[in-house]
Every structure is written in structure tokens, then in C-alpha cells.
């Protein structure tokens, strides 16, 4: 915690920023395998936090622990000021989660899927249909809403996932690889959608992605996780500052990331 504050000393405003997620020494062990190894970091209100790292680094496990879906072996976390172990329902009501493999009921159409999600979240009555239609329009799926999800392309499914989050209008969203398997154009659109979600609605976003150059454009801060350990976190300038000469201003996130990756 102290470390986080000292990192943001550069700006007065940043020090006052509210912590949406606070993680301290969080650890997850499966028998003899350590999936998440004593990680400590914070995510501030309204920012887009780029959660980077290779596959199997423990990002998803961390997210599951923050949602109270998985029990940490050690350490603690606070999400929206609450303990995921004690108040998972309250956290899940205010949090959106777009999982890596999407997970849709194939036999439903987009409207039915969102209707189901809305009911699980206690969105009912006239408000429900309006919000569903609005969410579908925002992601450009309104015309295809009555078609079964199994006929959707990968990009459409990913957009439907975003629609789910729009519908819920949470304070915080975990987006686990929303750009996975998308073509460049769809990737750009997806990231644009995510950016506008965050900027317009003031939603805090934890974004896990491998699209580093795009992530560089929209993320405020980053955390790099490798083999279960959080090896670096901060803004791109802070990350680069540790590895490059200050004079060198031409670095990209990709270069910075690879530098950390090779050292790990």
C-alpha cells in the first residue's frame, strides 16, 4: 500500500484517488502448484488498468478471487471496499465480468441471453426491455438480437459480452481477453467500445489483453504478471523508467513488456 502511494507522488490528484481494488499478498495454491504468488496492487476509480502477462500467468485466477468465486490461500483483497469472501453478492451486483471463453447458452438468442442476465441481476419491469435494447444497440447487435447465439461470429459474441456489462452498468468491470481471436478491425472497435465505456460512464476497467499496442493507447496503468507474480506495475512511463534511459522516449509498451518478460 505504501508503495502504491509513493508511486503516484508525482501528482497530488492521484494520491487522493479512491482505490476500487486493493490487493495485499493475495496467493492461490492448487496442491503444489502456485497459481498466484503473493501479489499486491491497487486499481483506482475510473481508470483502465491493463492486466498483462502470458497465458497461465494467473490473471484469471486473480480475477476469480476478486469476485469471490475462488478462495485465496493467503492474503486479502478488497473490491469496492468489500471483502470478496464475506460479501460476494454485493460485489457481483456492482461488478461486470467478461470471461475469456464468453460462455453463452447457444440455444438462446441475444435478447433472451440478456433477459436472463437482467433477471439474475434483479433488473425487472419496463426498465428491463429498455435497458436490453439500449445495450444491444450500443454494441450494434440490435438487428441480430432475435437470432440464436450459435449463429454468431466470434466478434459478435464478444460484443454480446460487452452488452451484458452495459446492461448491468457496473462500477467495475473485469474484461478477460475481450480481444482474443478478433481481426484487427474488430479489435479496434472492441477497444474503442471499452474506452468509451470507461470514459463516458466512469466505469473502472481491469482489462486483460495480449494486444499490447492497442492496450497502450487506452490503458492508464499496467500490471505485468508472470508465473503468478506481479513483477511490475504503474504507468508506462514508470514501467519504462526502470528499464530504459530517461532520454529514450520512443519505447512502446511491447518493448517494455518484452524486457520484463525476458528478465522474469
Amino acid at each position: 500500500m505504501v508503495k502504491e502511494n509513493s508511486r503516484t507522488e508525482s501528482g497530488e490528484v492521484e494520491v487522493k484517488e479512491k482505490k476500487i481494488i486493493e490487493i495485499n499478498g493475495l496467493t492461490k495454491r492448487y496442491n503444489d502448484f502456485i497459481a498466484v504468488d503473493h501479489i499486491t496492487f491497487s486499481v483506482f476509480e475510473g481508470e483502465i488498468f491493463g492486466f498483462l502477462g502470458p497465458n497461465g500467468a494467473g490473471k484469471t485466477t486473480t480475477i476469480l478471487m476478486l469476485l469471490g468465486l475462488s478462495e485465496p490461500t493467503e492474503g486479502w483483497a478488497k473490491v469496492l471496499g468489500m471483502d470478496p469472501l464475506k460479501e460476494p453478492l454485493k460485489i457481483k451486483r456492482m461488478t461486470g465480468y467478461l470471461q475469456e471463453n464468453m460462455g453463452f447458452y447457444r440455444d438462446l438468442n441475444a435478447f433472451q441471453m440478456l433477459d436472463f442476465i437482467a433477471e439474475l441481476n434483479g433488473i425487472t419491469g419496463e426498465d428491463k426491455d429498455r435497458r436490453i435494447n439500449e445495450a444491444l444497440r450500443s454494441v450494434g447487435l440490435l438487428e441480430r438480437a432475435k437470432k440464436k447465439i450459435e449463429t454468431y461470429s466470434r466478434g459478435m459474441r464478444q460484443r454480446l459480452g460487452i452488452a451484458e456489462i452495459l446492461l448491468k452498468a457496473p462500477k467495475l468491470a473485469f474484461l478477460d481477453e475481450p480481444t482474443l481471436g478478433l481481426d484487427p478491425d474488430a479489435t479496434n472497435k472492441m477497444l474503442g467500445l471499452i474506452e468509451s465505456l470507461s470514459r463516458k460512464n466512469g466505469m473502472t476497467v481491469v482489462l486483460s489483453t495480449h494486444m499490447l499496442d492497442q492496450a497502450q493507447k487506452i490503458c492508464d496503468r499496467f500490471g505485468i504478471m508472470i508465473n503468478g507474480r506481479m513483477i511490475a506495475r504503474g504507468t508506462i512511463e514508470e514501467l519504462a523508467g526502470e528499464k530504459f534511459n530517461i532520454d529514450n522516449k520512443t519505447y512502446t509498451l511491447e518493448e517494455v513488456y518484452m524486457k520484463y518478460f525476458k528478465e522474469a
Partner: protein
């Protein structure tokens, strides 16, 4: 507080009722019920020719048959299939398609999922059992022209409840396997294997099993060894839901029976004859008393299996893949 339970039950019911699987099951059941009830009414007409109508003729629609395979027996042997078909992929399919973690990331309690799935399954089973009975009642009224009295109505009602419990037991078994096994094929096979063992292997092999246990115990006179065989068979029958169900419904749907043990086992030919001649139907409450222990036992097994499933499900790790 959002009632996740209700939402899940609603969704599961809608899923079941709109699925081809349900439609096919329903068609099979309707077909078989129709065939069996026509045969039953045929044999009833023959049996009742020239005889005075005795009490509970209506129940014969369920118990008598030309080919020696009545509707009650059919449900005892093949009813479990309904439960297995509904439940064998209920948890693992959602796990494989990633919808389980999506579901659990919503603000609902984890047990809402498993409870909702089970209750929705029981609802579908109830629907099927009731529709079978309605169908038979309708055909019976039309074909045989007997209408059920008040007591027959209650007997059929109790019979329906026991049948729903019995099939729900197998639903619990299949949900248990779909919680344990990741693969849908494995859980289906495991539940079918268990069903075949307890519904066919054990009931048909029970006599041989009891005999071998008794004969290995040493030399006994005929009467003593027969008594032992009967006692061991009775104990063994408690391990098979199919036999429990047959016992639990025996005197309810067939009021002329006085015990769940077949008469041939109890006494000699002459005694049987005299008993039959003077046999009057048991009153409903007496019938119920005879089968009550079996009903409670059936319910207890169902609850235990469900609790095991519940505990396993609640403790399972949610992983991304």
C-alpha cells in the same frame, strides 16, 4: 435481494420444455402408455366378462396387462430413464461451455444453481407423470367405461407422488454424476450403468444371491432356509430403488394385496386359495401403513444423494477453463 433461485428454475424449465430431448421422451412415454393401457383394458374386458363389478376396477388399468407387463411395472423399470435423461448433463455441460462461471459471476448464491436445477427437473418429472396418468384415465374412461371413485382418486394421487419421488431419485443420481465428471459422456454412462445394476441386475439376481448366502451358511431344514432366503431378499431389496418403489406402490395401486411380499412365498397352495377367496380390498389408510416405510426410505435416499451432490458442488473450484 434478487431471487436467483426463481430465475434459474424458470430458465431451466423453459430449457427443458423447449428441448427436443423432452419432446422425444414425452412422445415415447405417450406411445408406451397408450399401448399398455389398451392392452390393460383389453385384458380387463376379458377378465370381467360376466362378473359383477368389484371395487377398484379402475386401478386395474394400471396393474393388469395381457402380456404380463403393466404400466406400474413399466414405470418401475424405465421411469428412471426420465430422471437420467433430464439430469445427466445438467452441471458438466454448463461447466464445459463456460456458462457456469458466467452464472456464478452474477449476484446469486451458488446453491441457487444446483437447487434450481434440481427443482426444475422435479417439475418436469411431475409434469410427465401427471400427463401419463391423465392419458390413462382418459383412455380408461373411453375404453372401459369405468369412472374412478374418490378413494381411487386418492390412491392414484399417492401413486403419482411416489412415482415422482422415485424418478427424482434417479434425477439426483444423474446430477451427482454430472457434478463429479467433467465429460458428459462419462456421466451419462455412469448413471446408466448404475440404473441397469439396481433395476435389472440386482432384482433378477437377488434370489440367487440370497440362496447362495443361505446355502453357504450350512445345512438347514427346508422351512428354516426358506425363511432365511426371504429375510435376506428383503434386506437386499432395500438397496435397489426399483424394488423399493415396487414395494412402496404395491398395496396403494393394488388394494387386493395385503403385503408387499408375493403370496406364493408365504404359504401353500390351499392357504393361498382360501385367502384369495375371502380377500377384500384393504382400506386406503391400511394400504398406506404397509408401504409407508418404503416411501420414507425412498425419500431418505433421494435426500442423501442430493446432499452429497450439493456439498460436492459447493466445494468445487471454479476454474477458467
Amino acid at each position: 435481494m434478487v431471487s436467483g433461485f426463481k430465475v434459474i428454475v424458470k430458465k431451466e424449465l423453459a430449457d427443458h420444455l423447449s428441448s427436443y430431448r423432452f419432446l422425444i421422451l414425452l412422445l415415447i412415454i405417450i406411445m408406451v402408455s397408450l399401448v399398455l393401457v389398451y392392452m390393460a383394458s383389453d385384458s380387463m374386458k376379458e377378465q370381467l366378462q360376466g362378473e359383477k363389478l368389484f371395487k377398484f376396477v379402475f386401478l386395474m388399468l394400471f396393474t393388469s396387462s395381457k402380456v404380463g407387463f403393466s404400466l406400474v411395472e413399466f414405470i418401475a423399470y424405465f421411469g428412471p430413464l426420465i430422471g437420467l435423461m433430464i439430469g445427466f448433463d445438467s452441471i458438466n455441460r454448463e461447466r464445459n461451455e463456460g456458462t457456469l462461471s458466467k452464472l456464478l459471476a452474477q449476484p446469486i448464491y451458488r446453491d441457487n444453481v444446483i437447487n434450481g436445477k434440481y427443482i426444475a427437473g422435479v417439475g418436469v418429472i411431475g409434469l410427465m407423470v401427471v400427463s401419463i396418468i391423465m392419458l390413462i384415465t382418459g383412455v380408461g374412461l373411453f375404453e372401459v367405461g369405468v369412472k374412478p371413485g374418490m378413494e381411487e382418486f386418492w390412491r392414484i394421487f399417492i401413486y403419482a407422488i411416489i412415482s415422482i419421488i422415485y424418478i427424482s431419485l434417479w434425477l439426483a443420481v444423474s446430477i451427482l454424476f454430472s457434478t463429479i465428471f467433467r465429460s458428459v459422456a462419462t456421466s451419462a454412462l455412469a448413471s446408466f450403468a448404475l440404473w441397469i445394476f439396481f433395476s435389472f441386475f440386482l432384482p433378477f439376481g437377488i434370489n440367487a444371491l440370497a440362496n447362495s448366502i443361505v446355502s453357504s451358511a450350512g445345512l438347514l431344514n427346508y422351512k428354516e432356509s426358506l425363511m432365511r432366503v426371504i429375510r435376506i431378499e428383503k434386506i437386499l431389496s432395500f438397496t435397489s430403488p426399483m424394488m423399493l418403489y415396487s414395494n412402496a406402490t404395491a398395496t396403494i395401486i393394488d388394494p387386493l394385496r395385503r403385503s408387499v411380499i408375493p403370496t406364493a412365498m408365504q404359504m401353500g397352495m390351499r392357504e393361498q386359495l382360501s385367502i384369495k377367496r375371502f380377500a377384500g380390498p384393504l382400506p386406503l389408510f391400511q394400504s398406506f401403513l404397509i408401504v409407508a416405510p418404503y416411501i420414507f426410505y425412498l425419500v431418505a435416499i433421494t435426500i442423501i444423494i442430493f446432499i452429497i451432490t450439493y456439498v460436492i458442488f459447493m466445494r468445487q473450484e471454479i476454474r477458467s477453463i
